[in-house]
């Protein structure tokens, strides 16, 4: 008898002209922890969205406990016991934890909510009470609530999409323990969807590998697979290039002195006594879990945030009291983490977005020359290999990788003196990541001072010369790259260093 609690056969799905999934097979053994491995863009999220009923496949069929399912929607999927925790949380911010757990139609803990909540709070080591509002929780806590949502909905099959992306190494370990308990004691079938090899190997018992929409490996036994096997399956024969760290460093191009910042809207951290320097030809990595002051620091340095104490000095010039235009004049470029929304304006065309940094150069008095703008865009397209067939199309029609290339190209083409890049490769596929890393290194070699803010420790270790860790708005530790290791940085990120 088939022990598979879920089977998906021949799943095909496209978005517009892109094929996200091609004839994919996927199956789950009851009460085991599975891994779905694949780089960004391989189709993992699409497959999971189909299994949880959010997307409909054009082709293929799904069986739960051996019985074929006709039309899957979130409601039915929940009834069948499938639940998913997304990368972007689907929690209602103004509502309480209790509301978010009990409003679903599939909630099984109606009368015994309090007992159930206590039981699972213990398993997840959650300290917040059930009447706490979601917007008062930390990112890690929100994730716990998301997983609890699945449990409260009696989901026997739990799909977790990149859960460790927002966690410190210590929280990741805690998650591993919680998930193990859930599968062994609560009989939950769990799927971990990720591009991180370490987590797949540490968390799972069975591995599936997706590459470019095709399932290249099914049900591998985790204990018997090596890291290299997985890398080859995931990415083909591409090996990650090492970055040469013999770069020459020059004078200080960016200096930040004694920054104090208080944000009136609560839940956003303040910055306390931040001082740092970045030299020409140097990459300074800023490590830290999202929400510890990185965005605020970047906004202050780039001139977006004006209400703060302290000094920002670029190439010796103190521009603390001035705004964005002053930075532009001194050739500072800022690549914000909010790609679509800050760096690029949604609802606005590609050509308009390409001119955001330097539109003044295309102007003749009050007139904006569209020819000049088009020329400028074409230069960007050529130099940065951006796939953008129609300049008048809305910018969000570009793929994530192309959007980031447009954004970075626009910011880097003037060979800036100082570059601030926040989460530049988030969510992108391996090829895009590689080319963007090369871009950054090229700028470094040209003499730029680069401040790289990233949650991806691998990325930080690969590119940085020094790493500074931000925790709750303070610099808690600084490492020179040769002396740094993941554990040490991880502890600092969690605020646990000496």
């Amino acid at each position: 008898m088939n022990n598979n609690i879920l089977e998906a056969k021949n799943i095909t799905k496209s978005f517009g002209n892109t094929h996200a999934l091609k004839n994919v097979n996927f199956y789950l053994h009851k009460s085991k922890i599975h891994g779905l491995l694949g780089e960004n863009g391989a189709g993992k999220s699409s497959l999971m969205n189909i299994l949880s009923g959010i997307y409909q496949p054009e082709n293929g069929s799904i069986y739960i406990d051996g019985i074929k399912v006709k039309k899957l929607n979130p409601d039915l999927a929940a009834k069948l016991g499938i639940g998913m925790v997304h990368q972007e949380f689907r929690l209602i911010n103004n509502f309480t934890i209790k509301d978010n757990l009990t409003l679903s139609k599939s909630n099984i803990y109606t009368d015994d909510f309090n007992e159930a909540f206590k039981k699972y709070s213990d398993i997840f080591s959650l300290s917040a009470g059930s009447e706490t509002l979601i917007n008062q929780l930390s990112v890690g806590e929100k994730q716990k609530i998301e997983i609890m949502k699945l449990i409260f909905n009696n989901n026997k099959i739990m799909l977790l999409d990149e859960p460790t992306a927002v966690l410190t190494p210590q929280e990741t370990n805690q998650l591993r323990i919680s998930l193990k308990k859930l599968s062994e004691e609560d009989d939950k079938t769990i799927v971990l969807i990720t591009h991180k090899l370490k987590e797949i190997q540490e968390f799972t018992e069975s591995i599936f590998v997706l590459k470019d929409g095709v399932m290249v490996a099914e049900d591998l036994e985790t204990k018997k697979v090596t890291k290299n096997d997985l890398i080859t399956l995931m990415m083909g024969e591409v090996s990650q290039s090492e970055i040469r760290k013999d770069n020459q460093k020059g004078k200080d191009k960016l200096e930040v002195e004694n920054i104090f910042f208080e944000n009136i809207h609560s839940n956003v951290p303040t910055l306390e006594n931040i001082s740092l320097k970045v030299q020409a030809g140097e990459i300074l990595g800023i490590a830290g879990v999202s929400g510890n002051g990185q965005v605020e620091l970047a906004n202050i340095i780039s001139g977006i945030e004006r209400e703060y104490k302290g000094k920002v000095i670029i190439n010796g010039k103190n521009i603390s009291n001035q705004g964005v235009k002053a930075r532009k004049n001194l050739n500072l470029s800022y690549i914000p983490e909010n790609r679509l929304g800050v760096g690029l304006a949604p609802g606005v065309s590609i050509i308009d977005n390409s001119a955001v940094k330097d539109y003044f150069k295309s102007r003749l008095g009050p007139h904006l020359s569209s020819n000049k703008m088009l020329d400028y865009l074409n230069i960007l397209i050529k130099q940065f290999s951006i796939k953008a067939p129609d300049p008048k199309a809305e910018v969000s029609t570009l793929s994530g990788g192309n959007m980031q290339k447009l954004l970075m190209g626009r910011e880097l083409i003037s060979n800036p003196e100082v570059i601030i890049a926040a989460q530049p490769t988030r969510g992108l596929d391996i090829n895009a990541v590689q080319s963007l890393h090369d871009l950054i290194v090229k700028q470094r070699d040209n003499g730029a001072a680069v401040m790289l803010i990233s949650e991806d420790l691998d990325e930080l270790f690969k590119l940085s010369d020094r790493i500074i860790v931000l925790y709750e708005g303070k610099i808690v530790k600084e490492f020179i790259i040769d002396e740094a290791n993941i554990e040490g940085v991880g502890l600092a990120m969690a605020g646990l260093s000496e």
């Binding site: 056969k9 021949n10 978005f15 517009g16 409909q56 496949p57 054009e58 082709n59 293929g60 069929s61 006709k70 039309k71 780039s302 001139g303 977006i304 705004g323 964005v324 235009k325 532009k328 800022y334 914000p336 909010n338 929304g341 800050v342 760096g343 690029l344 304006a345 949604p346 609802g347 606005v348 308009d352 001119a355 955001v356 940094k357 539109y359 102007r363 009050p366 007139h367 904006l368 569209s370 129609d390 199309a393 029609t397």
Partner: protein, 353 residues
């Protein structure tokens, strides 16, 4: 069993707003015909009379375009304001304010040079419209107060002011049946061409060109587009989005005020409650349905002017003039529905065997 998927089209046909409008117009005429039939009228007779008397001669075309002028001007103003994703529901009030401001300057000054006076008066009407939108603009930009409600409520304030003025300080003793202000002197009437087509229409056409330029080709228009796309991107780019939005609102209000001024100097020649019959509201939808495109507003506005003239004329046949309003509203509604089919696509999903 077949399932249907809804997905958004990546590239939307440039002409889709035009096609949607044509479809909407067809629906509007269809609904209008049904209503006429229900009232015992022959739609063909009614519509051919409407056509003949609205565009069948130079005189009637002129009337139609004159009727369209304030609609187009108000619509242009609304389209500028919508660049930053804001709505001006106050065009109706701004039209009246334009008329009031014009009249105020007229009775406060002496006409020595008619041409100069006309320009001055039109400028006054522009300023009047801008003043009318000032409070909603400031409260929106500084405090984030919902501009839909504030501009809307201001309409009632200004109309109330108008009623007060024409029944009080500005009451014309010669106008017995209808409370209105005194007529302005003939020397400041806007001149006409072809016997009836007012210079106001020419002003309206020039404004169309101007607004098109402002929105598409100027730095200001670019900054508005970015601000409208995302306020955060604007801040990031060093654009003072609030300042741009404020200026855009003033210009938009001013254009609506200008609509009132032009209407006064070319058609009504005095301030009264009849200065606008809902143009301010219709203009919003005309602007929206054309995708906020100045030339689209110009064309659709002209068409609606003809419809309104046609509608007022068929009263002689015993048909209520409201039918024109119903046709206009149904046209716009039909166009809105048609838009859906151009922006979304429905695909069939097949099941695996």
């Amino acid at each position: 069993m077949n399932k249907y998927l809804l997905s958004k089209k990546i590239v939307v046909n440039e002409l889709s707003t035009f096609y949607s409008f044509v479809i909407g117009l067809t629906i509007g005429i269809g609904i209008g015909s049904i209503i006429l039939l229900a009232q015992g009228q022959n739609p063909v007779d009614v519509f051919s009379l409407m056509l003949r008397l609205s565009i069948g001669s130079v005189k009637s075309i002129s009337s139609s375009l004159n009727k369209a002028t304030p609609l187009i001007l108000a619509g242009l103003g609304i389209s500028i304001i919508n660049s930053v994703k804001l709505w001006n529901i106050g065009a109706e009030g701004q039209i009246f304010m334009g008329g009031i401001a014009l009249n105020f300057i007229y009775i406060s000054t002496e006409v020595t040079n008619p041409n100069f006076s006309i320009l001055l008066l039109l400028l006054a009407s522009f300023v009047g419209g801008a003043v009318c939108i000032l409070f909603p603009a400031i409260s929106k930009v500084l405090f984030g107060v919902n501009e839909i409600i504030t501009t809307l409520l201001f309409n009632y304030i200004v109309i109330g002011l108008t009623v007060y003025l024409v029944n009080g300080p500005w009451k014309d003793p010669n106008s017995l049946n209808f409370p209105a202000a005194a007529y302005v002197g003939k020397e400041v009437y806007l001149p006409t061409v072809f016997g009836r087509l007012s210079y106001g229409f020419i002003i309206c056409f020039l404004c169309t060109l101007g607004v098109h330029y402002l929105k598409e080709k100027s730095v200001f228009g670019y900054e508005l587009r970015i601000s409208g796309g995302s306020a955060l991107t604007a801040i990031y780019a060093g654009i003072n989005a609030k300042q741009k939005a404020f200026v855009a609102m003033l210009i938009g209000g001013g254009l609506a005020g200008l609509a009132g001024g032009v209407e006064l100097l070319s058609q009504t020649h005095r301030v009264s409650t009849g200065l606008s019959q809902g143009f301010g509201y219709t203009a919003i939808i005309v602007a929206a349905i054309t995708g906020m495109r100045p030339f689209g507003i110009f064309l659709v506005g002209s068409l609606f002017g003809a419809l309104t003239i046609g509608g007022s004329v068929i009263q002689t046949m015993g048909v209520s003039s409201y039918i024109a309003d119903v046709i206009q509203a149904t046209t716009l509604f039909g166009a809105l529905i048609a838009q859906f089919f151009f922006t979304y696509k429905i695909t069939k999903v097949t099941e695996d065997v």
